[in-house]
Symmetry: C2
Subunit: 323 residues, 2 copies
């Protein structure tokens, strides 16, 4: 895993992924007491940065292998990113989802052209189903984060940050990244190391699911006791990845943990001041920038809004924080 892979992925993504801007608002700066720049990956295709990794992985495959199709396990943003990237490549995608996943997510994934295979969480193993389908059809598994080409794809977000931060004249800043398994965090960190070492990448997680923060503190991979039950489901993973953790340990930290209420309030601010829709997990970094400034350093912070795939009921809860 190295910067050349990220640059190569950027070449393959050019004209396909969106180069998202760095947005600002005087109202955010006032809340935070410092300058905040927001990278809205919610505006990326399929509503999250995951399209970058999906496209990077698909486009890196040998054409004959790609032709046979890809498979992913996900009920969330990775599923949509892979499904859309596969459709644009004109190859089949199979997404293995739990049968109790929200109907809307299943419908969206199907609408993006993927074949959805449902499994029963209680009685079936998604890995067994995936292995069988992959063997039968010659599908290639695309892991959500512990996969070099996926990390390379997410890293293109970091190349954009590094380059745009230079254009803004920023010499030093904390870059806050909503962090699950660490694919985006490690990719962005590698990009910043190469192109703008004045940027320090710091993972942000939900309180109670701060495996990366604790792993960085102890220097060894820590796991979460809980694996479900957070509204920030998009960034809840059992533990940092085998590939991503060493990169994060070398380049990132310290981590930050924010409350669910912080995330909802940050979603409200993004609605009111940036006109952006963030999902709870996607607003964690902005929440840290706005409400945990005592743990940040420097006069400028860059926060990635990693995704905006949230339903109306949850978004209404965020709107309630404004009244």
């Amino acid at each position: 895993m190295n910067i050349d892979m990220i640059r190569a992925a950027a070449g393959r993504l050019a004209g396909h992924a969106r180069h998202t801007p760095l947005l600002c608002s005087p109202f955010l700066d006032e809340i935070a007491g410092r300058r905040i720049l927001v990278k809205p990956e919610c505006l990326q295709h399929t509503g999250s940065f995951k399209f970058r990794g999906g496209w990077a992985a698909l486009s890196a495959l040998d054409p004959a292998k790609r032709e046979r199709g890809v498979i992913a396990f996900s009920s969330g943003n990775h599923a949509q990113g892979v499904a859309h990237a596969a459709r644009l490549h004109g190859v089949p995608a199979v997404i293995v989802m739990p049968s109790d996943a929200p109907a809307l997510k299943i419908a969206n994934t199907r609408a993006l052209g993927a074949e959805v295979v449902l499994y029963d969480r209680a009685t079936e193993s998604r890995e067994a189903i995936g292995d069988r389908l992959a063997a039968e059809r010659g599908l290639t598994l695309i892991r959500p984060y512990d996969e070099p080409q996926v990390i390379a794809g997410q890293g293109t977000c970091g190349l954009e940050i590094a380059s745009d931060a230079r254009l803004c004249g920023i010499e030093k800043a904390n870059v806050l990244v909503c962090c699950g398994g660490g694919g985006l965090t490690s990719g962005v960190a590698l990009a910043c190391e190469a192109d703008h070492p004045g940027l320090t990448v710091r993972p942000v997680e939900p309180q109670g699911f701060d495996d990366v923060k604790r792993s960085l503190e102890t220097g060894t991979i820590q796991t979460n006791e809980q694996r479900i039950g957070s509204i920030c489901d998009a960034i809840v993973t059992p533990a940092p990845g085998e590939l991503t953790f060493p990169i994060m340990a070398r380049l990132c930290g310290p981590g930050l943990a924010v409350s669910e209420d912080d995330c909802l309030r940050a979603m409200g601010v993004a609605f009111q001041r940036l006109k952006l829709v963030a999902e709870p997990g996607g607003a964690a970094a902005l929440a840290a920038a706005l409400f945990h400034g005592d743990q940040l350093s420097g006069d400028t912070v860059i926060a990635i809004i990693t995704g905006g795939n949230v339903d109306a009921a949850m978004f209404s809860k965020a709107l309630e924080t404004l009244s």
Copy 2:
């Protein structure tokens, strides 16, 4: 009023206004049965395209005149655009607002550094107050649309559309513009005439407030019977402007009219599929693109979301259209 003024305004806005992208989603295309590209001016500074006109007008003033400050009548997006542009120029802005304007709008305008002067709609004339303040302090009035430099500023949005549409390989398209007094519509039309004549600009208004549509049909300026009572307040004006109407009559049309319910549903689609916050009047063009395709021609439509300054209560109504 000519294209050279728009190009000059673009030069002055470079590095200050945002060049907003053209966004797309397969889900929008499916609803509309054609390709839809969305220009999200809700992401412009202060949450609407009005910052362009405010900046263009401020930056065109003679420095000695500018130094004394500017004045505007508005309780909405024009107020915020002028206030922010004035602050960034380091000059005073006075905004004359009705004393019954929503407290949040007054607070926001003040937070952007403007002096807010309140007047009683029933007993006072805002023009008289404005004239007195302008005379006393040497302030320059910045009109919301019937003002050449304001039209030039809004026209920069059209230069971006023309250039980005070419990059996308679009040869012909309807460009739908949420239309009040016609500053944006006429500016965009002049820009497209010069840089991409394959683009036809068509104003979109709320039903019952379709003065521009009727004016284009009759060839003479028509007025609205009602002047208040629309949730699309941002684009409700008494009649097209004296400067803007001849431009629209030469270059634009036919106009379209959409219902308030169409606008709320379009806001819901923008939330769900584009992760954008649109205000009702700002969603009128998208509503026409999505739900009135029978009145459109060609396989591609470009719709400008002109603003996103909406409160949580109104946005909740839009979210209800999704269930």
